[in-house]
Amino acid sequence: MKAIGLFLLNIKEYLIFSLLIVLSLILIFSNDNSQVRFFRAIAVGFIGTIQSGVSAVPNVFEIQKENQFLREKNIELSNQLSELKEAKLENIRLSKLLGLKNVNLSGVIIASIVNKSLVQARNTITLNVGESDSVKINMPVITDDGLVGRIVSTSSSYSIAQLLLNRNLNISVKVQRSRVDGILNYDGSEYVIINNVPKSADVKQGDIILTSEYSNYFPAGIPVGIVSEEGNLDNLFKKVIVKPLVNFTALEEVFVLKHLPENERLILEEYYSKK
């Protein structure tokens, strides 16, 4: 017995190492359970409070860049405003003719980014809205330019969203012009990619990519990006490189869409895949 005890004592480093490896692997394979979500919510709340305090301190270089950007945007928006006024008048006239009701835009939560985080290519943003503002996990995040990402973690006053440039986010998309569909994800480079698109599929440089009806997490038709180039993957498939429409480096304010996956559909799909 004493010999076994001595032996175990001699290899204690290896025992602890094995234990930690097993623990890590268990955690990796149980990423989506409620206990993990609970601890994550606490961590998000804590770091969100610190980050929102720090974000109140002005960054001179950022302000300079922001001013330049806002000046340019101001000119662009003034032009758009005059065009929109014209369009609005036309819209009112046509709506009256067709007897349409007003479109409901209440399903949107406006949020400011209190922090951007690059934890080894896992790009996320922290938003100043949380469960108390009706933000829930899996809600899409957008800007006026297009899709930003998806909420993955919430606390009462803050939430974390995975960006499009995140390996863990896969999105069902389609090409606006030819309706070719595929799965868009991030391979760690500057842009996002759609893999396994049949070689014969009609995809051209400059095509707009939208979220598709197949996506359970995102409403269909949200602009995602623009086809930058395409290359061969193998004899049958090609890879389409997509430049996101959203400029992630200048991102400051976003909208969280009050859109959640349909549970009935999720349950049915999960049930069928297990069969």
């Binding site: 204690k12 930690l20 994550r40 610190i50 995140n166 480079s189 893999n195």
Partner: protein
């Protein structure tokens, strides 16, 4: 390690994690957003100076905290940092070998980060159509070299403190 030492390292870890999560993107380089990893530097430092067990455990806890804050894939950094702490602890110095370890500390640090990030990025980029060679060149090597710059600064800083003592 004594309680005061645990407390000291816990505070340093907390500060480094906040910097890593909140500010490190300001010094990200290239289109691949390569950032240095300040937390792994401390894990390796603890491994080398305090031994394998403190290195592994501190690596696991720090990695898990970072995983919780990153919003995805819990357990992956915990695994990578534990391995880094284990390897660093293997080179842990006794007084007789202190000078030889100190001479090769940069090499040890590089080895630990390369192994830890090989595990991390290899698992993280599973299912993506990029080869391991590409992952190694684009992410593992660049992150390790960038991290090493900060590791060298830490060594210089600790040398200055030791000389003053």
């Amino acid at each position: 390690m004594y309680f005061s030492e645990y407390l000291k390292f816990a505070i340093i870890f907390a500060v480094l994690i906040i910097i890593q999560v909140s500010f490190i993107w300001l010094i990200a380089i290239s289109n691949y957003n390569i950032t240095p990893d300040l937390v792994i530097v401390l894990v390796i430092y603890i491994g080398i100076t305090r031994g394998q067990i403190p290195g592994m455990i501190s690596g696991f806890i720090a990695g898990l905290t970072m995983d919780l804050l990153s919003g995805s894939f819990i357990g992956l950094l915990a695994l990578s940092y534990s391995v880094a702490g284990f390897i660093a602890g293997y080179f842990s110095f006794s007084d007789s070998s202190k000078s030889s370890v100190k001479r090769s500390i940069i090499g040890i640090m590089f080895l630990c980060t390369v192994v830890a990030y090989s595990i991390f990025f290899w698992i993280y980029y599973q299912g993506v159509s990029i080869s391991y060679g590409e992952i190694f060149m684009k992410f593992v090597l660049t992150t390790s070299v960038y991290t090493l710059v900060f590791g060298v600064l830490l060594i210089l800083f600790s040398n200055i403190i030791e000389t003053k003592k």
